[in-house]
Structure formats: structure tokens, C-alpha cells
């Protein structure tokens, strides 16, 4: 009989063989007070007196409880803080371990872009942007921020974009997917004009509170319906952007669908094309088939990935969307995190993997590959 003592040991430091870009990382302030250095006393007093009025019936937080506390991985809680609140913990657990060369920050908690009070929305978006720069991108050059904008107020959103345009710490503009009106409508056009001028893509991240039911048939009962419903929202947003002629008017516009799923995208395009051949006269401002606008203007992040019985189906969908349009995202530190070492259901070629895990994101976000590699080495 052979007997051994069994001490525990820590996990190996590096899990991943290649450098990757992660296009959906969520930093979070522990409390609103963390934003105070960048907020006028007027707004500090305001939030302590009146709170933040979001566009939904409940005032505190989302309408549906999440499946894990703070919607986070249970192993992603740093000492004394919320998941995503401490850079050193994120570096150790995710950026270093998974060899993240470019990490795109997508702050959604909070995302004040839909606050009902326009000036308050603008002030808080500015504060979150300053916070991202001071607490994250300035401290780790692998990280790049997303500009939060008061997206329900087109002119104010455009002003926020203009303020940051040219700042290399920010690589996209970030909206939440549930807007007050469909995204193609004219109230949002100043935002698109500013994005095109700044040469920045617009990330549309699932969630938000548009004051409407989160499904097209009303308020559902369960969180699983909200999770599934994100796909509905993203479909209606892409449909609106295409049909209102936004891509025709703003040919430089690039949309990144973040955390909305993607297996629905090919059939949506097929359906739009089928209808368009018969109904083209209703929208004569469109010069091309809807699917062509989608192929030229829409990128997708792959988390959460649909998990079909036949794994080949995912590859078929990737093929249709195009290997130049796919972006890896982990959603760290949230509970539905995708592990870059395990997320793909099936083997892909080296060329496909290189594009999917890194090159597409560097190109889309205008990050120099040499700089990204240097940032990784310096970390």
C-alpha cells in the first residue's frame, strides 16, 4: 500500500497558450462614492438627496434578480470589494492567467447613459469615464476604456464623444441595448455622427432599462427569460439600424453587439432580405440588401455562446457571420464568463483562431499589435 500526503497548491499561473483580446471586461466601482472625485458637489448632493431615477418601475437595480450574487463568478470576489472592483485581483485571476493583451472595459454597473435627468446622465457618464482612465487604463496599458455616453440625449452624447475623441485610452462608445426607441431613430443620429467623426465603433451591450417590457410581449417572470430576451432586443436594434438607413447615412459606422448572442444573426438577415425583395419601395433610402449592411457594419462578441447539440452548427454560423467579424469576449467577472481555453466547442484552424482571439479586435479597435504585445510583456 502506497500512501502519500496531499498538500494543496495554487493553480498554474498561465492557462492560455496565445495572446488574446477580451472585448467584454466589467470593472465596477464599489460604491457611487468612488466616482465622487470626478463629480461636482452639485451632483454628489443630488444623488444623495434624490437618488438615480432609471427608466423602469423599480428604482434600485434591475428588474430580475441574477443567478449569482452581483451577477458574478463566485470565485471573483476580491477581499473587501465587489467583483471587478480591484485591478490587482483582476490582473492575477484573469488578465495575466489568460494572457490578455487587449482588454476592452465595458462598464455597465453603473452605466448612467439612460438616466432620465439629462444633465445628471451626462455628469455621471463623464465621471465613470474619468474613473476608467484614472483607476484602470492609466494603471494597466493592456486595458482600454469604452466611452459611456448619455445615449438617450443625442446632443449630449455627441458632446461626450467629442470630449474624448483622440484619447488612446478609449477605443469605443458604449450603449446598453434596451433603449427608449429603436436605435435607428433620429434622436440617436447625433451620436452616430460623432462616432463616425471620432472613428470609434459603438458597442451595444445587453441590458439597460428602456422603460419598456424586456420582451416584445410584456414583462416575463424569470431571469432566464431576460437572458434569452437579450437576443430579441439585439435583433430589433439591428433591424432598426438597417431599415432606418443609419448605415447608409453613416457609412463609417461600426456596431459591436456585445453579450447578445449571435446564432440568430444569419436567419435575421435572411428574413430581412426576403422581405426586402418584396417591400423595397417602403424604404427606398436603402441601396443594398439588408444582409449586406449587416455584413459590413456589424461585429459580434461571442459570449455567451449558444451551445447546440451538434457543435458543427456553431462553426456554420461563424462561417456565415465571417471570421473577420468575430470577437472573443469573456464577460469577466460575471457569472456567465467564457473561458478562452475552453469556450470553443470544436477545433478551428490556426488562422481562424488568431483572428478570432486577437487580430480582429486589434484591427477594429485600432490597437497596434506591437503595442499590445509590449503591454503584455510589461505587465
Amino acid at each position: 500500500m502506497n500512501m502519500n500526503v496531499a498538500p494543496g497548491r495554487v493553480e498554474a499561473e498561465t492557462r492560455n497558450v496565445r495572446l488574446i483580446a477580451d472585448c467584454d471586461i466589467h470593472p465596477t466601482p464599489n460604491t457611487t462614492r468612488d466616482l465622487y472625485p470626478w463629480l461636482d458637489q452639485r451632483w454628489r448632493t443630488h444623488i444623495e438627496t434624490f437618488g438615480a431615477l432609471r427608466r423602469q418601475g423599480v428604482q434600485q437595480g434591475p428588474a430580475y434578480p441574477k443567478s449569482q450574487p452581483d451577477a458574478a463568478r463566485r470565485d471573483a470576489w476580491p477581499e473587501g470589494g465587489r467583483p471587478g472592483s480591484r485591478l490587482d485581483f483582476m490582473q492575477k485571476q484573469h488578465l495575466d492567467a489568460n494572457r490578455v493583451a487587449l482588454g476592452v472595459l465595458t462598464t455597465i454597473s453603473p452605466h448612467p447613459g439612460a438616466y432620465q435627468n439629462p444633465e445628471m446622465s451626462a455628469a455621471f457618464c463623464r465621471a465613470v469615464n474619468e474613473w476608467q482612465k484614472a483607476e484602470w487604463t492609466a494603471k494597466d496599458t493592456r486595458l482600454k476604456g469604452s466611452i459611456l455616453v448619455p445615449y438617450e440625449h443625442g446632443d449630449l452624447a455627441a458632446a461626450e464623444i467629442a470630449h474624448w475623441a483622440g484619447d488612446e485610452d478609449f477605443v469605443q462608445i458604449l450603449l446598453l441595448s434596451r433603449t427608449v426607441e429603436p436605435m435607428g431613430q433620429r434622436r440617436y443620429w447625433p451620436l452616430y455622427q460623432a462616432a463616425q467623426e471620432a472613428k470609434l465603433p459603438i458597442g451595444v451591450h445587453a441590458f439597460g432599462n428602456g422603460a419598456h417590457p424586456i420582451t416584445s410581449s410584456g414583462w416575463p417572470s424569470f431571469y432566464i427569460e431576460e437572458m434569452t430576451g437579450h437576443a430579441q432586443t439585439c435583433q430589433s436594434q439591428i433591424t432598426s439600424l438597417v431599415l432606418e438607413g443609419v448605415f447608409e447615412r453613416f457609412p463609417g459606422l461600426r456596431i459591436v453587439v456585445i453579450e447578445g448572442g449571435f446564432a440568430w444573426l444569419p436567419p435575421l438577415a435572411w428574413r430581412l432580405d426576403t422581405h426586402w425583395t418584396k417591400l423595397r419601395a417602403e424604404t427606398p433610402h436603402l441601396k443594398r440588401k439588408p444582409s449586406e449592411y449587416i455584413r459590413d457594419h456589424v461585429w459580434i462578441t461571442t459570449q455567451p455562446m449558444e451551445e447546440p447539440q451538434s457543435r458543427q452548427h456553431i462553426l456554420d454560423i461563424f462561417e456565415w457571420i465571417g471570421w473577420d467579424r468575430l470577437l472573443f469576449a469573456s464577460d469577466y467577472p460575471h457569472w456567465d464568463f467564457d473561458d478562452p481555453a475552453r469556450c470553443l466547442p470544436i477545433a478551428i484552424s490556426e488562422d481562424q483562431a488568431q483572428r478570432f482571439f486577437l487580430d480582429n479586435a486589434l484591427k477594429l479597435y485600432g490597437v497596434d499589435p506591437a503595442k499590445a504585445a509590449a503591454a503584455t510583456l510589461a505587465a
Partner: protein
């Protein structure tokens, strides 16, 4: 097969767990209501360490509007995506035939029995009046490690 002493039984009371590495494998040893179980600490879905998951119960329902809660403390939920595993069998609740945890034989043996082995005295200072949790694992192979892009 190699047998490994994990800890003294009294150091792993009901509800407690301990993560150990045996023969190159991370193994989670749990005491569920006095019964010991050992499971491979890699979620077969996406590889999370299960050690950070909660032990919970099972919610079942015969029809909408009716539910019951049972088997408290016997279901281990993955800390990432919430997959539920039956600690007693290693099977996942939703896909028991395809997604399951590897489990290992666990026994509680007295220190008096353990010191009879030829190697124990050199590697483990046992006090022979205690009981010990012992896990049996196949001898090491090269550890598998996933890589992005396969």
C-alpha cells in the same frame, strides 16, 4: 492506484471541503452530513474550479406553481455557470449522462491501520489514535491542459 491521506477526519466536519492535488489532479474532498466524497475539481462544462461553488439543495416541481426543496447540502453548484452536480454520484442534474464529474473512492481509516504502510512514517507524521480521510487515485499521468484554439 495510490491511496492518499487528505487530512484528519475531525478537520473536515460536515459541510466542510478541502481542495487537494493528488497525482497531478485537483480533487475536491467534501464532507456531506458525515459522508465523505471526492470529486475532480474541474467543471466538465468549462473548466471552473468547483471548490468555490456553493453546496445547496435541489428544487423540483411536478407542475408549475408547485415546488419542493430537498437534499439540502448534497448539490454542488459551479461558481461560474451554475451547473448543479449531485455530490454523491458526480452527475450533473440537467445532463447526467453527458456532463458528470469524475469521482474517487474515499474512506475513513484509523491512524492505527494507516501506519502499517511502508512509506507513511517517512512522509506523514500521524498520531495513530485519529481517523484519517483517504482518497484513492490512479497513478499520475501527464496532466491535460486546454489551450485556446485547440
Amino acid at each position: 492506484m495510490t491511496r492518499h491521506i487528505v487530512c484528519a477526519a475531525r478537520d473536515l466536519p460536515p459541510g466542510a471541503r478541502k481542495l487537494v492535488h493528488l497525482e497531478g489532479r485537483p480533487i475536491l474532498v467534501l464532507n456531506v452530513k458525515g459522508e465523505f466524497h471526492a470529486l475532480l475539481n474541474i467543471c466538465p462544462h468549462q473548466g471552473a474550479s468547483l471548490a468555490g461553488g456553493i453546496l445547496t439543495g435541489l428544487v423540483e416541481s411536478g407542475e408549475p406553481g408547485d415546488y419542493r426543496y430537498s437534499r439540502e447540502g448534497e448539490i454542488l453548484r459551479c461558481p461560474w455557470h451554475g451547473w448543479e452536480f449531485d455530490v454523491k454520484t458526480g452527475k450533473s442534474w440537467c445532463k447526467p449522462s453527458r456532463i458528470r464529474l469524475k469521482d474517487y473512492p474515499v474512506a475513513v481509516e484509523s491512524g492505527g491501520a494507516l501506519v502499517e504502510g511502508p512509506y507513511v512514517a517517512e512522509t506523514f507524521p500521524v498520531s495513530i489514535d485519529d481517523d484519517y480521510v483517504v482518497v484513492e487515485v490512479a497513478t499520475a499521468r501527464v496532466a491535460e491542459r486546454g489551450a485556446a484554439g485547440g
